[in-house]
Symmetry: C2
Subunit: 237 residues, 2 copies
Amino acid sequence: MQLKKYRKQAQSFSVEGAKSVLELAQSSFEITHLMVTKPFWEDNEKSLKMLEDRVAVVTNKQLTAISAFKTNEAALAVARFRQHPPWEVEPDEYVIALDRIRDPGNFGTILRIADWYGINKVVASSDSADYYHPKVIQASMGSFTRVAVYHQDLHETLQGMTNIFAAGMKGEDVHKVDFPAGGVLVIGNEAQGLDTSLTPLIHQTVCIPGYGVAESLNAAVATAVICDNIRRSLNTN
Amino acid sequence: MQLKKYRKQAQSFSVEGAKSVLELAQSSFEITHLMVTKPFWEDNEKSLKMLEDRVAVVTNKQLTAISAFKTNEAALAVARFRQHPPWEVEPDEYVIALDRIRDPGNFGTILRIADWYGINKVVASSDSADYYHPKVIQASMGSFTRVAVYHQDLHETLQGMTNIFAAGMKGEDVHKVDFPAGGVLVIGNEAQGLDTSLTPLIHQTVCIPGYGVAESLNAAVATAVICDNIRRSLNTN
């Protein structure tokens, strides 16, 4: 489950940690296996009752042995991939497009940010981190159950869409942009920024004004600051 | 150098990666040892000329062997701790106070955010991640050379200070706060939030409005969004 090719083969992925497993159980994902420690099961037996036939109670040591992380003292679930509805964007909806966001921690944090700001669709280039990567799941803190990720070609996806904004080092000051009711926010690779072949598809590049010396902000941090400015702008109108 | 007690003993710390080492060399930190790979040295010999007497050219393999990370193909420097000037805050200056920010990645990212927003002093409780931890240094992307971190008691530090804002789940909407010219932004522990014994010292708790279902934002992300709102508010006045 820690390798993409095995996840793909099994059409399944693993979810670890108390919070994520509990959120998974309440979502529409189908859990096929659940490994829990005794204390975790005793604390959450009621809310996980429907999974009783798939539960194995194991020791911390056993759980850690199959974990993708250093320790796991709560639970690990295996769930089936979920089919999203076909990609479609409403005119008054914001979505996020990720161009080669490779770090799974960044990717998962962006899902959490999207969820916070009421964005529930993310399109990601196929060379971005994988939606079902254990570290993506972990960093999203349960938001992976609510934000649908579409791994598909960005050129095709953005073609013909309206209000496409990209985060960049140069562009319109995000504090001054009057954001429309819906659109796309494109976030480029952590080190290289946006793929230049995407540039012709962008309607406006927005930048976050800096007041110090740091060269840039982390990709997830930039996403949050821009989403915050979008919401703030929409509330003012 | 990877363990706090040895760093303390040696009064030194290590800095890895091309960007961080180059920024270190341009800062007031004193570099005592520098290990470089041949390609890195050839690319940067001019800007590192003054360190020629302390350089050892090593192989990727040798460098990775002493690295705190999975790989290091560029450089590793050892530098002495630097003495900051005594803690003092100007009336028109913002500083950040970190209450038990334990994750070194978050801590380093917050230094990078502070540097972006022109904040160059951070006070952190002694049970926060250590300023000189290799992952703090790495995540700060060079900003550790420009942002001074004071590990000292937060109660004592905040006592008598003015305009102390804390990030919280409940409080005044950060979009509506009219921020004064200077003050303190306090960020609480990733999981537990602010230590309740600090609450009486806080003048105003501010919250970031959410529009979705996620329970919270990552501590570093929240820091950035609030700093952005502070700068935006100051520019409007």
